[in-house]
Amino acid sequence: MITFMNNSDSEEEPCNERTSLMSAESPPVPSYQDGLPASEAGEAQAHRKRRTGSSRSPNNIADGDMSDSGVPVRESALENEEEELTLKYGAKHVIMLFVPVTLCMIVVVATIKSVRFYTEKNGQLIYTPFSEDTPSVGQRLLNSVLNTIIMISVIVVMTVFLVLLYKYRCYKFIHGWLILSSLMLLFLFTYIYLGEVLKTYNVAMDYPTLFLVIWNFGAVGMICIHWKGPLQLQQAYLIMISALMALVFIKYLPEWSAWVILGAISIYDLMAVLCPKGPLRMLVETAQERNEPIFPALIYSSAMMWTVGMAKPDTAARGPSQQTWDAAEDGRGNHRSPSHADSQMSETRSPVPTRPITSFEELEEEERGVKLGLGDFIFYSVLVGKAAATASGDWNTTLACFVAILIGLCLTLLLLAVFKKALPALPISITFGLVFYFSTDNLVRPFMDTLASHQLYI
């Protein structure tokens, strides 16, 4: 417990992942709040960066060029195609996100059901100081609400802090914070998890082997997440750290506080992403102004953006701007600003070649992926895990929450395709999940139990 308290800062970072889905039109938002997975890390994007670039260059050029008439036609054609492609690939995106969310939930539920450690009450985090052991219902409710207020305010403070850091370009600080938090997740939490799993299955492991395993796991994880690595390995690591974080939450948040926190966080998410003065929205806008990419460490991305080696004949004019987008893929914001200035200038000077733009579009179809913040994963898994842990051993509740969350995610992606801007991914899913949890636990369970005892089928 003492270790948790000491590492409270870095522990909070993963907790604070904000969740929002970024839409197509906006350029990659560095919603990557380095230290604060919670804050913005939750922005998913349908990567339309290149398309945005190609559809924006006609705009720039239309301002002072002869090809004015060609431009509006191109714009509407682009829009129609965009819509079609959105819908066609919408289903693909949904599947691409279903799989990791399901995997994360499966890992969490499997651990909860088998390893007893995560359902034992062994103290609380310092963020939830009020205990829930009080005899009266009113007192318990009050304590949980107070816990929630404290937790949410911590998250808000962290988010605002991160936005400020990002605004004043303190990238090194953000980097360091993030690296520290993922270090802790990958090494410490994995060590504890492995220890508990081994204890449950009564498997003996000596320290040298343990050290070797954890060292390799952690080192490869750090490289994969923060630098380069095979996409699937990176996705697997992100799923694993989300699951670990969710397990920590499930263990250390008291019962009622957990539910109230889930509800409050989805409301906060909604406000932070959609309100004009919300921290997440400000972050999104700042990132859009700077045209910076997202750091991969706290966002789950379903498709890799690989550098485009387009050998097109008249790409001389496109060359500089293309390199700008390529550089963006590498994800380091440091050399963004100078190259960004280049692209602006080159775009205004060059005429609009038709073929490179279509080839941009073709390439874009292959690379487009969806991004979802790790905070989303974490809170979805917390909901399902809590359902598995506390629903009196009933699997129906877990299953119902699982389906509810997936349907919520579906709806959110649908809205993303319609609205084409940053959207919070938490509210709809968590609302569905909470509604289904409470109703299944209290209403459906007695019904199904009675039916099963008489062996009646509906």
Partner: protein
């Protein structure tokens, strides 16, 4: 699946309210309420199947409007099949999963005088229900598409019959046999509706 879940939710809400409002010690009343709950649930499920059909219809129209060549990438029959499978899987999962979880633990089946074949018959019943839901999905959507109300009524009546037959449990002959017969009938009907024929079947079986 989601729609089935919502229908289950609503029907259990109704049953719960009814139970809470009644006397818990009155056995026949409780049994009667249970029967009422089951029937109501069946009706609600079919209603939600209809609602789902309406939703999918709208979706298909949207897809057709946006597609390049005027036809949607997924046909209504495929959607009917998927809807049926979704309903079936959800109903099956809800019926079986607690049983399976308990089956992993220690215990003896039927030690208190209940039937020893409990797990086995539950498994078979669940299986037949999943199949039935799939076929009912196809039949129902076909009926809605072609405005043949008698097909829709047939599905509802079949569902009520199957659920009703489970009231004979633990006399499993009364519930399993009719259910399997109905399943065979529904399977043949759905197969014919989906464009199959005896010739197709023969060709398929003989690998021509």
């Amino acid at each position: 699946a989601f729609f089935w879940l919502v229908s289950l939710l609503l029907s259990s809400l109704i049953w719960f309210i009814a139970v809470k409002a009644s006397d818990p010690r009155d056995e026949p009343l409780q049994k009667g309420l249970l029967i009422f709950g089951v029937m109501f649930s069946v009706l609600l499920q079919e209603a939600f199947r209809f609602l789902y059909y309406k939703l999918l219809r709208k979706a298909i129209e949207g897809l057709v409007a946006l597609s390049e060549d005027g036809c949607s990438p997924i046909s209504i029959q495929q959607m009917a099949y998927v809807a049926g499978v979704g309903f079936g899987l959800m109903s099956g999962a809800f019926s079986m999963i607690n049983l399976l979880a308990d089956a992993l633990g220690p215990g003896t089946v039927g030690i208190h005088g209940d039937s020893q074949l409990y797990f086995l018959t539950s498994a078979f019943m669940t299986m037949v229900l999943i199949f039935l839901h799939t076929f009912w999905g196809i039949l129902f959507f076909h009926g809605c598409e072609h405005r043949r109300w008698w097909e829709i009524m047939a599905v509802v009546v079949m569902h009520l019959a199957v659920s009703g037959s489970t009231f004979c449990n633990p006399m499993y002959v009364g519930s399993l046999v009719p259910s399997y017969l109905l399943m065979a009938a529904a399977a043949a009907w759905a197969y014919l509706l989906s464009g199959g024929s005896a010739q197709n079947l023969r060709r398929f079986l003989l690998c021509k």
